[in-house]
Amino acid sequence: MNYIPTIGLEVHVQLNTNTKIFCGCKTSFGDPPNVHICPVCLGLPGALPVLNNEVLKKAVLAGLAIKAEIHKKSKFDRKNYFYPDLPKAYQISQFDEPYCTNGVITIEEEGRKKDICIIRIHMEEDAGKLMHSEDSNVQESYVDLNRAGTPLIEIVSAPEIDSSDEAVLYLTQLKSIMQYIEISDCNMEQGSLRVDANISVRPEGQEKLGTRAEIKNLNSFKAVKAAIDYEIERQIDLINSGEKVLQETRLWNAVSSRTVSMRSKEESHDYRYFPEPDLVPVVLTDDEISAILNDMPELAYQKKERFVKDYSIPEYDAGVLTAKKEYAEYYENLVKKGVPAKKASNWLMAEMLAFAREKDLEFKDLCSFENLSALLLEIESGTISGKIAKTVFAEMIETNKDPLQIIKEKGLVQITDENAIVLVVEEVLKENQESVQSFLDGKDKALGFLVGQVMKKTQGKANPPLVNKLLLERLKK
């Protein structure tokens, strides 16, 4: 029997506002514990939340970027549960009236496009962090509330994802959109992007979805993929051996590469949601929504269309260059410096991407666009050949030196002086009588060998078209 997996993802995105969602404390990562706290985010008696308007703006921007419906009226609710990292013992979230519903994220695989529906996005506050001693004899745990009250949006997809590969494509696309609109750095390691996966399987031909398990603790795209694959297999094995899949919350254990049960449906919390009486309903006017829309940066698909039109590069190239906002900005900087559009795109797609992936670096950290454009302009002006340029490039990303300096230091300037090249050509012809004869006998391949010999003697610095021309002139004499 064949089984069809169905996956829905809940993604928490930390918004990059300067201050927290309900108080004026700074949002931060990596500072000493409990330095960014106040009565509000500490949950002191008498403290009251006040919505940070920047959070609302960024949240609305996220909704508009996935073409969702923004609700002019929404409200906050209290989600009640006890945990030491949750100072008020309730999380302020949005329950039955979120600010945003019904969006879409389009994924693309080998030219095939698929729309994944976004059921809803809502705003909420983050909790603090517990700190446990690594020494098992220590009986105390500590709580750091710097993160408590950091703004989050939760993006909930419909169960329309069919495989772990699609899940990763969806997350990549979601991350790219959030980075494009600059509302989050989406850093999974630092927890500014967090993913929970709902997974079920059903026999082929059955309409009704199977019982789902919710998987938590997915800290990287790799973990998402591995956990989904593991869980699909686990559920299929259960069904095949005559057992039932239980509705439960499971944790991904990256060390053992397994999911393990955390709590069953019966043990799940009753959060007792009710409207947050300390906050007034969130009201947005048409004008406010249009103002946010007007501030919307150009999105990936819009950039792609523009690149094709303005720079006359193939759609494929435009797609690669706009996959990340960083790539697109880098590319446009090169073009602005005068590098021909196609040459810039070739270099980014071949050289830069390869090195960036290998070294796991951003373009700008690999090599500044000022240096790369200077190098590419040297090819344009004929000072160096394309081949030499690759040598300079390799050196440049190692040492971070100015390309002009490298060219000068290493004496790599292209030889364009005909008289100088003629001398080498004469020498090569004299030393390779056999090849000359082959050429004269009609074997064109021999020309290539002779060009190669000239380049070798000039350490690759001779201008190749010129070498070609001079060799032919001499051979035809």
Partner: protein
């Protein structure tokens, strides 16, 4: 006769007395008399005298912050003051020192008022007699066997006993008005959102409101005008531009009273109430301007109030878990026990009862039947009032269904205690202002309640002044 705020202000202005002498005189009264009343949980003597010195100096330099610079005030134990203890009369907040001040405290201090100490209350403002305090039982200065009302019993009793000229309380379903009534004082529950709740230990957020208790309507008005106003730290606080004061003179005022709300109240309350009605007909407005009105949904007030308030309280009081502040159970050995033991030992039985009730009302499967339904009825009660205020400007009803009851009389029967709020919860659910003013009485205090549309405080004060002039409350002798 206790001095009014204006009288005290005159004495300070004329240098008949300075702020230190004034403060010392009240501290002396507290020392002598509060042993009988138990209204103060803590008298902050040193701090008060330090503030009095500063005030005295300001006045000497001609830099008084206001006419009331140097006048003392008592504060209910659920209103926070920086670097001072505050525990809402609960064991669970033992040792809690607030790192910040409530907005109302800041506003009082900006005018130079001196806070004298913490006043007793029902634990977390849950109660109608102040018997639910974990610390002490406060007595009614008019009859020491009787309860001062609650939850702001300490605030009412201290004013009635002359230990402070004025005090702050908080009202969620009648917690200012009912003790004011029991102690023969004036008490105002302002329009919801006009006084900041920032720094008030929350009981039921959508109902809580801070207000003054005082000997005279004028004093209540003075304090109300100091503490009101928009606060950016309280989202439910009304922006100043939206505060549209009712402009109406009492000569052409229309008054209504709902006869169905007089059912089930004691005879002496009824007699006193109609004395006031007769006076108003004769002296204030024409016969035709006092009419009977209908508030059909008022009868659901008490259950709607208790479902709303306990639901919100179940979340508001969840933060008292022994993890970050207050009292942690000393025997707790793990996280579960920190929660269970701290809360079991820290909360009193009425607070536990209400947390359980509210938790139940919000539970999955019961939400619609309890919390959900109560919110629909709350809307209908609000609409009742809106309709009524199309016909009349002020609604007049008694404040309490009975004179003050005896200490211990109702503690065995929580429902009978809850029913003592029957006349006050309506204004709380609707968010409208209500002023309790002494009604004619001989020995045990009785009170009349004036309710008006949003922002009609001024009108209520004007009418209240006429009633208090006609029926001055005899002072408490104890």
């Amino acid at each position: 006769m206790n001095d009014t705020l204006k009288k005290l202000s005159e004495k300070l202005n004329s240098k008949e007395i300075n702020a230190v002498e004034l403060t010392e005189s009240y501290l002396k009264k507290i020392e002598e008399k509060d042993v009988k009343i138990n209204s103060f949980i803590e008298v902050e003597k040193e701090e008060a005298l330090r503030l009095a010195e500063e005030s005295k100096k300001r006045r000497e330099e001609g830099k008084a912050l206001s006419d009331y610079d140097g006048i003392v005030i008592g504060i209910k134990d659920n209103i926070l003051q920086k670097d001072r203890k505050s525990q809402a009369a609960s064991k669970i907040l033992e040792g809690f020192n607030s790192p910040y001040s409530a907005t109302v405290i800041q506003k009082l201090q900006e005018k130079g008022l001196i806070t004298l100490g913490r006043l007793n209350m029902d634990e977390f403002a849950m109660g109608s007699s102040t018997e639910n305090s974990s610390i002490q039982t406060t007595k009614n200065p008019y009859d020491l066997k009787r309860a001062p009302g609650g939850s702001s019993g300490g605030s009412a009793a201290s004013v009635a006993a002359g230990l402070v000229p004025v005090s702050l309380g908080s009202d969620t379903g009648g917690s200012i008005r009912q003790p004011a009534a029991f102690c023969g004082t004036v008490g105002l529950k302002p329009t919801y959102g006009t006084v900041s709740r920032y720094g008030l230990i929350a009981f039921a957020s959508s109902l809580d409101q801070i207000g003054p208790l005082s000997n005279t309507v004028e004093d209540a008005e003075i304090i109300y005008n100091i503490i009101k106003g928009h606060d950016k730290y309280d989202s439910s606080s009304i922006p100043d531009r939206e505060y549209k004061e009712t402009k109406k003179s009492i000569e052409d005022i229309k008054i209504g009273y709902p006869p169905e709300m007089l059912e089930g109240i004691s005879d002496e309350v009824k007699v006193s109430f109609f004395k006031v009605i007769e006076f108003l007909k004769k002296e204030i407005c024409k016969d035709s301007q006092i009419k009977e009105i209908n508030l059909p949904y008022q009868k659901y007030g008490v259950p709607v109030y208790y479902l709303t308030a306990t639901s919100e309280a179940s979340a508001n009081l969840a933060r008292f878990d022994g993890v970050r502040y207050g009292r942690r159970a000393p025997d707790a050995k793990n996280l579960e026990e920190v929660y269970e033991l701290s809360r079991t030992e820290g909360f009193g039985s009425e607070v536990k009862r209400r947390i359980l009730l509210g938790t139940y009302a919000l539970s999955s499967g019961y939400y619609d039947a309890f919390y959900g339904k109560s919110q629909k009825l709350r809307k209908l009660i609000q609409e009742d009032y809106l309709k009524a205020f199309n016909e009349v400007d002020v609604i007049i009803i008694p404040t309490t269904p009975t004179p003050p009851f005896e200490i211990g009389e109702k503690t065995k029967d929580p429902v009978s205690m809850y029913l003592s709020d029957v006349l006050t919860v309506g204004a709380s659910l609707a968010g409208i202002p209500a002023l309790a003013v002494p009604a004619p009485f001989d020995k045990l205090p009785l009170s009349i309640q004036l309710q008006g549309a949003f922002f009609s405080e001024k009108l209520l004060f004007d009418l209240g002044r006429k009633i208090e002039q006609a029926f001055p409350a005899p002072p408490a002798v104890f």
